[in-house]
Symmetry: D2
Subunit: 272 residues, 4 copies
């Protein structure tokens, strides 16, 4: 892990990324919402539900990088405007993906956190562009990427002058087929000992199985993660993407009760 | 996951494996001790230390399957006798590996739990032989094995009439190099939903890094694991194998305090 | 492999991509040159050497996507002008990488084939942009991408109206450490049976070892590949990137003699 | 690759393993036959067919290590007797798997080459036992084993005094799903530069797809392999294992014509 001057821990200061009133890196931050913004009703309803359950930020994709060119690609600007309305109504900061360096400037008008997806982790033009913005960046780990490569990508952003990088472990590709990917929870303490940046996990994309999300959420807290990002949809069956892995609002509500309880007692007991 | 008649959950009964006074599958069972039995002094001293810290069972290898034929291969029968003495002094049941079907009968005279290592997960002759014994079996997941293949190996043991199988997730081989293997914690809830068998994790072999073991231990508890197996050596620097990843007794003592605290509050708060 | 209308074989016609006088998909096309364009002298000298050895096209990177932001990033426009001069002197068409959708239009003024690197395989904005150009595209397989995902990326290009896609298998990431990646030669006949597009291999990046390149080149021919891309540098020791895996001109000359011989006899004997 | 005294190349002598009249390591040796011995008629008919096509040895499993305990496990001694009859009738030496150290002595009465399967590559008790026998050993690479680990397993055999080890690359486990495993053809020249032992490939198990076997066979020859092992069944549809990947006798006949042609011209042209 050489040449990581900016990412390396200097002194014992850890980075806290401020997004509105939320401080990522202090407590356990929960980002929730639909995979993609599909309509105003779907987004607003889900936004109110995750707010009620205690989420800290709203996620939602206006641009969806899809394996096939014939799959739903997102609503674009219209989607961003819907997210803006959701923010206005709920007060939740918006986390949304940007996939083209040409879009960064205007997506910044709507986003509070710019998400770089796993497929674009090494899209260096895009990394430089978000590094020049004044928005926090959620940098997902590529499904094929070593921790060292991932931290070098954070370095591309930091090197442009943007200190607000949040790392997100979202599962790596392995031979195991029961889960969609393998959530590498050991990356959480590894990143903590290698850098000063906050790190969250993505149990939804990592497992691809609703039934495993609660356990992986609690395990993330216990491992020292600074938060998690999960998919919630008011009606998963009608979702245009990831319909099999989005939680319903009641499931999310139930999970949040456990998450907040564990977070609280781990802190009280000196376990994190 | 077809054809897994014996492993499948029938009704809601989960298997509890009794080993002396220890009930694996009820509470969080901790198995600790040196990688290999190297001498009487080393083993006894370590055994007393892990007992004092609150471990439930003692681990120690008398037969070491090593990558190279020129590496330390274990003390064999002499090692088993040392383990027997350690059991006599501490009362801790013994977990020890067996690697040859011809050894099963006489290793059973000393072992309380027969360990099948990752490299032998699909050594079907060995699986059948331990399946015919009356000892509990700790079946490690092969580093290259899917959950489905692993459960089929448990089936080989169960099918011979031995119901006492404890599964152990010990890390799978991936491209990541920072950790020795990748601890697949999602295998814990996956195995829980697929079978009635108890499952523990092995943070030592999975990470190969002392600094990551505490986080991975707590994450295992939060994910619902029934226990863990870790390496402790009275003086890791002098160990003949795995010297870089064995905990010292004080480190283990400190970890155990956290482990018992988290286990207790998770149970009290209804989180597991 | 559903929804791959354009990539699917219709009738028995296979695509031949014409680049100047070169027909990729007819015979065995060899693309050779330095990893990066470092100077005019280095590039011109290497270009003349690969031309003399019988290469069909010249490769050279003006934009280098590097793991670290502090590594050599390429000469940009200056590099393209050097490549242009090399083309003028040798007559070899130019294959060069493009990494930003904003660069496609002006890189097209210099490139004959636009290369999409492994890290950008799923950079959909970039794929769409090169799909709108009138240049042939060399699409490398992501190092952790399935064949299905790769073909879907070709589909993004084809779907914009550009039929001239050349696929390039460049090694996948596995646990094996002796080679840098694992050249998946079975992808050659797999792609042939799934699509009508030509496919070449990249023995240099796949193996990362000079000593293995000749064998992997011959194996590619025998497997039915339509060509290969390899790194040649007039003086590998002074290269700014990939210095340990670039062939010297004499090594390349020797390899080309074998390549042309095998190609010829396989055709004569009806083996391909 | 330290501590590999016996496997290391001393001088320029390469090992040639003699099995009856066959010299593995000199020319391209073809081992063919059914996955498992299912009946006398099936085995004899297939044996005559592969003999007629020009195979050098007959393969056939009497003990089948199967993922599930409920799958066909082989005919055991009865299967060996059938193989013996096939040898008597065709003159082809017999290659058959042994999976239990207790079986080695009596399997040696029937086998000419003892096969160690991928799952047993690190079954060190078994390796030592075959190392004490006077039969040649075909050592398959574990599906998740590095080349270094594999060579260490050869060392276990060599270290017991048996010099006749034939290595077999049979595909490694990766994320790719189109093929059953990924044939690592680069392991062929890698093993050649690291050891003096002969190496063959197994296109059948590596690809799991009939359509890819011919290309991978030719690629193996071009890469410098000393032979290959393939599955042939008189009537694949009725096979009790691997029915989707066994060649029919006519397919094998057609492949052998190409194999012998390529082998001959590569030698004549100085390409191997």
């Amino acid at each position: 892990m050489k040449n990581l001057k900016l990412a390396a821990i200097s002194g014992s200061r850890r980075t806290t990324v401020r997004v509105g009133n939320v401080k990522v890196g202090s407590g356990f931050t929960v980002i929730a919402g639909p995979c993609g913004v599909e309509s105003e009703a779907q987004t607003l309803e889900t936004a109110h539900a995750v707010k009620a359950a205690g989420a800290d930020m709203l996620r939602g994709g206006a641009f969806k990088p899809r394996t096939s060119p014939y799959a739903f690609q997102g609503l674009g600007l219209q989607g961003l405007k819907i997210l803006d309305k959701a923010k206005e109504e709920t007060g939740l900061p918006i986390v949304t993906e940007v996939i083209d360096p040409r879009d960064v400037s205007w997506v910044c008008e709507y986003a509070d956190v710019l998400q770089i997806g796993a497929r674009n982790m090494q899209n260096f033009s895009l990394l430089r562009e978000v590094g020049k913005s004044n928005k926090a960046v959620l940098l997902k780990r590529g499904m094929h990427s070593t921790i060292e490569e991932w931290l070098n990508c954070a370095e591309y952003i930091l090197n442009e002058g943007n200190p607000d990088v949040i790392l997100c472990e979202r599962g790596i590709r392995t031979f195991e087929k029961y889960t969609r990917n393998t959530l590498d929870i050991s990356a959480v303490p590894a990143v903590k000992e290698l850098t000063h940046l906050p790190i969250i996990t993505d149990p939804t994309h990592a497992t691809g199985r609703l039934s495993l999300i609660p356990s992986m959420s609690l395990a993330s807290i216990a491992a020292g993660a600074d938060g998690m990002i999960v998919e919630v949809h008011r009606n998963p069956a009608e979702a245009l993407s990831d319909k099999d892995q989005a939680m319903t609002p009641p499931m999310f509500m139930e999970l949040m009760a456990k998450v907040r309880k564990l977070e609280k007692i781990m802190k009280a007991e000196g376990l994190r």
